[in-house]
């Protein structure tokens, strides 16, 4: 096999879901002509932009052979803490300790802090990552319920709403942010030593260490970045809905894992691409949109969401031709 043929196959695998996405668009057009309207497609892109940041975060963590379940709670807690600190007492459960302008920095800082705490347990103390982040998922969800009293924060400061609502150059800002961050991550994972170190660590941590990669430092950074991305995703959703519900992000982690695996990222680490993860989440949301347009009754959407994951998994197995692990 020649070198160029090898490269072509590698690239094709990267694009495995593209035909599936195109096929889904044809199906959508048959189901409802409204599907291909620009406003509808823009809606799909915007709806998936928040969760897609969680997928991006999880894909980075998976690439280096780890898992982070707590991302879905960070998604709710980070903006929740910010709202709690800036809102005036009396309106909701706010403390009113900080001016409204602090809400965005606080949100992002909480995300990084959660990532650092995860890293502390997993890397510094050597605890099992799956269970640590499972514990964190429950603790963080409980914290949000605690500070909010189980209620929804609203009347948020304008800076917190801005990113989720703004329109830049005719497209919602959250779509821009999602696309730019994915593009950035594709470049970092494909073309920097740091990015390649993620693959090396996920593929064989001992070999990575032997090659002089500072494995622990890379893992610390990745977990912190994952927390940051989850917080940003939460912020975008908060802006779009102009509120923080106590259940924000609840259950999202299953969709996130499904999207990553459908997009070809291996749960065992070291395999897959960021672009693949993006096509994974996009395919999930397209299928969901088509079903909604097809008039599926709302009470069946829950059951269908699970079925969608299985269908997308089967589609990706067929188009990539590779066994998933």
């Amino acid at each position: 096999m020649s070198a160029t043929a090898g490269l072509r196959i590698a690239r094709l695998r990267d694009l495995a879901l593209v035909p599936a996405i195109l096929g889904m668009m044809v199906v959508g057009w048959i189901v409802s002509p409204a599907f291909l309207h620009w406003t509808n497609l823009q809606n799909v892109l915007q709806q998936q932009s928040e969760v897609s940041l969680l997928v991006l975060a999880e894909a980075l963590v998976l690439l280096c052979g780890r898992m982070d379940l707590s991302l879905e709670s960070t998604f709710g807690l980070a903006p929740g803490i910010a709202a709690w600190l800036v809102l005036a007492p009396g309106v909701a459960h706010g403390l009113g300790l900080l001016p409204g302008g602090w809400s965005v920095p606080v949100t992002l800082a909480v995300g990084v802090l959660i990532g650092v705490v995860n890293a502390l347990f997993i890397i510094r103390f050597g605890l099992n990552g799956f269970i640590v982040t499972l514990g964190m998922l429950i603790v963080l969800r409980g914290l949000l319920t605690g500070v909010s009293g189980g209620q929804t924060f609203f009347n948020l400061p304008p800076s917190m709403i801005y990113l989720g609502n703004a329109v830049w150059l005719g497209l919602p800002a959250s779509i821009w942010i999602c696309l730019i961050l994915y593009a950035l991550a594709i470049v970092v994972t494909g073309y920097t030593r740091f990015g390649r170190a993620l693959y090396a660590i996920g593929g064989n941590p001992d070999a990575a260490r032997a090659a002089g990669i500072r494995v622990d430092r890379v893992l610390w950074t990745t977990l912190a970045v994952a927390g940051l991305l989850a917080a940003l995703g939460g912020l975008l959703l908060t802006g779009r809905l102009a509120s923080v519900a106590a259940a924000q992000g609840n259950g999202a982690i299953f969709t996130v894992f499904a999207a990553a695996v459908i997009g070809g990222v291996a749960l065992s680490g070291g395999r897959g691409t960021i672009f693949g993860a993006f096509t994974g989440i996009l395919l999930l949301y397209l299928i969901q949109n088509v079903l909604t347009l097809g008039g599926v009754p709302a009470q069946w959407i829950g059951a269908l969401n699970g079925a969608i994951i299985l269908i997308a998994l089967i589609i990706s197995r067929i188009t990539s031709g590779q066994a998933q692990n």
Binding site: M1, S2, A3, G6, L7, A10, V187, G190, Y191, T192, R193, R196, A197, Y199, A200, G202, G203, N204, D206, A207, A208, A210, A211, G212, I213, G270, R271
Partner: protein
Amino acid sequence: MACVYQKSTVIPSLSVAENVFLNRQDRRHGRLPLISWRSVRRRARELLRAWEVDVDVEQPAERLTVEQRQLVEIARALSHGSRFIILDEPTAQLDGQAIERLFERMRALRGQGVTFLFISHHLEEVYEVCDTVSVLRDARHVVTAPVAELGERDLVAAMTGAATGLIAATADRPAPAADAAPALRVDGLGLPGLFDDVSFAVRPGEIVGLAGAGGSGKMAVAECVVGLRRAATGTIEIAGTRPPPGSVAAALAAGVGFVPQDRHRQGLVPALSIAENVTMTIPERLGRYGFIGPRRRGALGARAIDELTIKASGSEQPVSALSGGNQQKVVMARALAGDPKALVLSQPTAGVDVRAKETLLAAAENAARAGAGVLIVSDDLDDLRRCDRVLVMFKGSVVGERPSGWRDHDLIAAMEGIAT
């Protein structure tokens, strides 16, 4: 400083080129120091060409053969520009030509002032490339001396702890019955690109060697026999039955026992105990209805430790805690556990010390004495000395057969494809 480890440090999912330049990938000049894949690939191609490793540098490293992988690791370590290089059993998976290239490269680098620490069990290699030798035995330092002052006999004595010859010829094995039905018969076996029209038979009680350089296809033949690969043409008969091709379970059920080429990859589950590894292929002997009797398993593990003199604290010790030689004995014990009618050994003594080598080959001989047909697939001449006859493969076909008593240079010439 650089090091080639005995255990593979290649990352399977990454490309060969990236493995070579891991964490030191070339970067573009300019404001954004992004990796230049073009430059990484070009330099990897140049480096591997110098080592005559003919592989596509863009394919993932998991597709390399064991030998190619080893060469890639050596080429990588020697390309760092280090002043001190540790090589831990670098030749364990290499054929004669590749070893010669490695030694040439080492001599050239030594001329430039590079220091090597060369860890090996192979005496001839020590005499060929080393200046000073230290012997460690049973975790103790025994002797350090200039190679020129230490004779081969003394070196062996230092390694084994007894003043005996290395390979004691054993002639007490009865000749196999000429008319017995073959324990293993291979007929017209072929797999495009690897080997073609290979036929031979091994009788019960016979030890047959299958020799050949890397790339001769001998390993692929062995893998077809044991069901790890599926041949495109031809038949394999084990003690009169024809198991469905390409199924390890069927081959085992038909009476095959085997030692795979790479114990780290196919031979062992490191975290499990000796007893569990030894009995992995014979669960049906441990209890009824799919249950496993721990007492029976422990007894079989203890028997293996006893028979193959495995140095371990007990049969419940995890295999990962054993030395390379003792791990290989566990793999051998597993091959023998089912009382095989046909025993296939692929490089059975790769990377083990002299004493373990003796034990392993003696175990193979005992199996033959008990009536098994033994096929030893190896390019290590010491493995082949006890064979009743040695078949030589070159570039995918059997090109010759040598009865016991062959001369080293004749066999090596045949393996390298030089007609004699």
